[in-house]
């Protein structure tokens, strides 16, 4: 009801006015309101001889969730740190909410918020003091600062823990406080660097819910992740980064489409037949066969259901004892494999396709 963003003019009417919030300020506070939240062209960052980011273009539409997906060391964090003005690019250009990153970093800082990979909180202070600190740095004074801190504590279900030192918080509570600290002033763009790394499944669901609610409220969110399912679940668009370069970009559906219409998954009963099965599938479908970590499942791109059907028939004709099979649209694991020729990133909790076997 009161959740609102710059675009939700109608919804703004229900808002209490104790803090200065008007629809005019909301809609008109950024230059070129129609333009993208982030535009980057050929961004480069070098560390010595290493090109951590090697010519990346990005276009992020306002009010959307955009995921940068890639394995450890792909350059995701460096890319995000450049966009958040924390490190200067060595080449290329970018603007955030219409402001040039290099020419006006101080102005950019006024319209962004960043939640780093490691909780950017003061462990010795209480949750409330952490929020008060940020609120006062933004310029809230006295009662306004306290009111904003308490409001955010309530919103993120931390009121009970408000007067405890952050060092006693669980991982999920820290994350929530960390994100709350990024929302003291509603940012145009919120940067989240691996927002759910190290969280248990419950806390992870909480954070996802929070991120969706934020995007609904009009905040543009750029997040990095090495969890393929996270990008799939949250993001309207996904850029896949590998070794400092963007190797693909699109919606989850588009990325899957670049890989083909679907995947055939086969499990065999006798592991001695796995090599023969893989060879038959490769011969029939003309594609590289991906093996599951345990080696019991095979996945291969199938251009059409008919082709998959014929491949299965060939397996049976070759005397292979099939335990199970299924046909699915590709998972992002398979997209990554197809794009890079390498297995899904290390540290990914992404699993074998859910419908591959049972």
């Amino acid at each position: 009801m009161d959740r609102c963003g710059p675009a939700d003019a109608d919804k703004m009417t229900g808002i209490t006015m104790e803090m200065r919030t008007t629809q005019d300020e909301g809609a008109g506070r950024y230059p070129d309101a129609a333009k993208a939240a982030i535009v980057a062209r050929g961004l480069v960052k070098r560390f010595g001889d290493v090109h951590a980011v090697n010519g990346v273009d990005l276009d992020v539409e306002r009010g959307t969730i955009f995921a940068i997906l890639g394995p450890n060391g792909a350059g995701k964090t460096t890319l995000m740190r450049m966009l958040a003005t924390l490190t200067a690019p060595d080449g290329g250009s970018a603007s955030v909410m219409g402001y040039d990153l290099v020419a006006a970093p101080a102005v950019v800082r006024g319209v962004i918020a960043m939640t780093g990979q490691f909780a950017s909180l003061d462990e010795d202070l209480t949750g409330r003091e952490n929020l008060l600190l940020i609120a006062r740095l933004w310029g809230f004074r006295g009662r306004a600062a306290r009111a904003r801190a308490d409001e955010l504590l309530a919103a993120f279900d931390l009121t009970d823990a408000a007067t405890r030192q952050v060092k006693s918080y669980s991982g999920g509570m820290r994350r929530r406080l960390d994100i709350a600290a990024s929302l003291v002033v509603t940012p145009g763009v919120l940067f989240l660097d691996e927002p759910t790394t190290g969280l248990d499944p419950n806390a992870r669901q909480d954070v996802w819910r929070m991120i969706r609610a934020l995007a609904d409220s009009g905040v543009t969110i750029l997040l990095t992740t090495q969890y393929l399912d996270e990008a799939d679940q949250l993001a309207a668009r996904i850029a896949v980064i590998d070794q400092g370069r963007k190797i693909a970009e699109g919606t989850s559906r588009e990325l899957k489409a670049t890989v083909g219409s679907g995947f055939l998954h086969v499990a065999v009963n006798d592991s001695a037949q796995i090599d023969a099965a893989a060879a038959t599938l490769k011969e029939r479908l003309g594609e590289n066969v991906q093996r599951s970590a345990e080696g019991a499942h095979l996945s291969v791109k199938a251009p059409t259901p008919q082709a998959a059907n014929e491949a299965l028939a060939a397996l049976i004709a070759a005397g292979i004892d099939i335990a199970d099979f299924s046909l699915s649209s590709p998972s992002l694991d398979e997209v990554f494999f197809a794009l890079t020729g390498r297995a899904a990133p290390v540290g990914s909790d992404s699993h074998a396709p859910e419908d591959a076997s049972s």
């Binding site: 959740r3 919030t21 006024g110 780093g116 600190l133 940020i134 740095l137 993120f156 248990d200």
Partner: protein
């Protein structure tokens, strides 16, 4: 994972607070710095143990030197105290300056500074907070040591004015040395390394000085070294200010090092900080 709130919290109560909150009028640089100063004060409130670290060493030194060596070094413990106490204040401040560097290194290693640096605030405000914390630390530690001295029978001959002047000099010394550790804190990512390296630098400075022993009794080569040690100049000026008889030259000489350190290290710290 021991999340105390295991029940997933709902979006419904979250939504009203996600209303659009506009940025207030940008605060002044001074206001930013004061907020960081407030943070330093909160640290004292939440981690009172740090005061214990600050004063155990100097108190131990004061008692040990006064009663064990005092008689032999200066005739009587109370006479020695008037020589030693102004000097131990310098030593305390120089050693305690290491804590801001450690704090900075801790903040940097935890990503806290990334948040500060992504905020539209005065670039140096976080450093100003460290300085405020330093001033508080130095003031508290010096007051405790002076109180113990007074209880043991020390009477500053130059009275309250002299003691206040000595405290001002002391805070200036602490300010100057603080930058050494802020620079170390910016360069070194592990807080304990900052401490070890800092103490390694400071130990010879503090002990090869005239803080504890009058260099008149030392062999020539050592006396020359001790008399050329800036810490000795500081201790001499402190003695002069508290016990009476300080000359302008002594005070200027004592101020030279902190002023030089500040002039050289502040631009360096600024560059390192921007580069982070």
């Amino acid at each position: 994972m021991s999340d105390t709130n295991t029940a997933p919290f709902s979006i419904a109560p979250l939504s009203p607070q996600l209303r659009f909150v506009e940025r207030p009028r940008p605060p002044s640089a001074l206001s930013n710095a004061l907020v960081f100063g407030w943070r330093a004060v909160l640290k004292f409130k939440h981690v009172p143990e740090q005061l214990f670290d600050l004063i155990t060493m100097p108190i131990m030194f004061t008692l040990l030197f006064t009663f064990v060596f005092g008689g032999a070094l200066a005739g009587s413990p109370s006479e020695y105290l008037s020589y030693f106490l102004p000097g131990i204040l310098v030593q305390t401040v120089v050693f305690n300056a290491v804590y801001s560097g450690m704090g900075l290194s801790t903040d940097l290693s935890k990503g806290l500074f990334d948040r500060f640096r992504s905020l539209p605030i005065w670039l140096l405000a976080p450093c100003a907070g460290l300085v405020v914390g330093d001033f508080l630390r130095h003031f508290i530690a010096a007051t405790i040591i002076l109180t113990i001295g007074l209880l043991l029978g020390y009477r500053p001959q130059a009275g309250i004015e002299g003691t206040l002047a000595a405290f001002l000099l002391l805070l200036t010394i602490g300010f100057g040395f603080g930058w050494v550790f802020i620079v170390l804190g910016l360069v070194i990512r592990t807080p304990t390394t900052v401490m070890t390296l800092g103490f390694t630098l400071i130990f010879p400075l503090a002990f090869a000085s005239n803080i504890m022993v009058d260099p008149a009794t030392m062999p020539d080569w050592l006396r020359v070294m001790v008399e050329a040690n800036p810490v000795s100049w500081m201790a001499t000026a402190m003695r002069g200010l508290m016990n009476g008889g300080a000359s302008i030259q002594q005070v200027l000489l004592a101020l030279a090092t902190p002023v030089l350190l500040t002039a050289v290290l502040v631009p360096l710290a600024l560059r390192l900080y921007k580069r982070q």
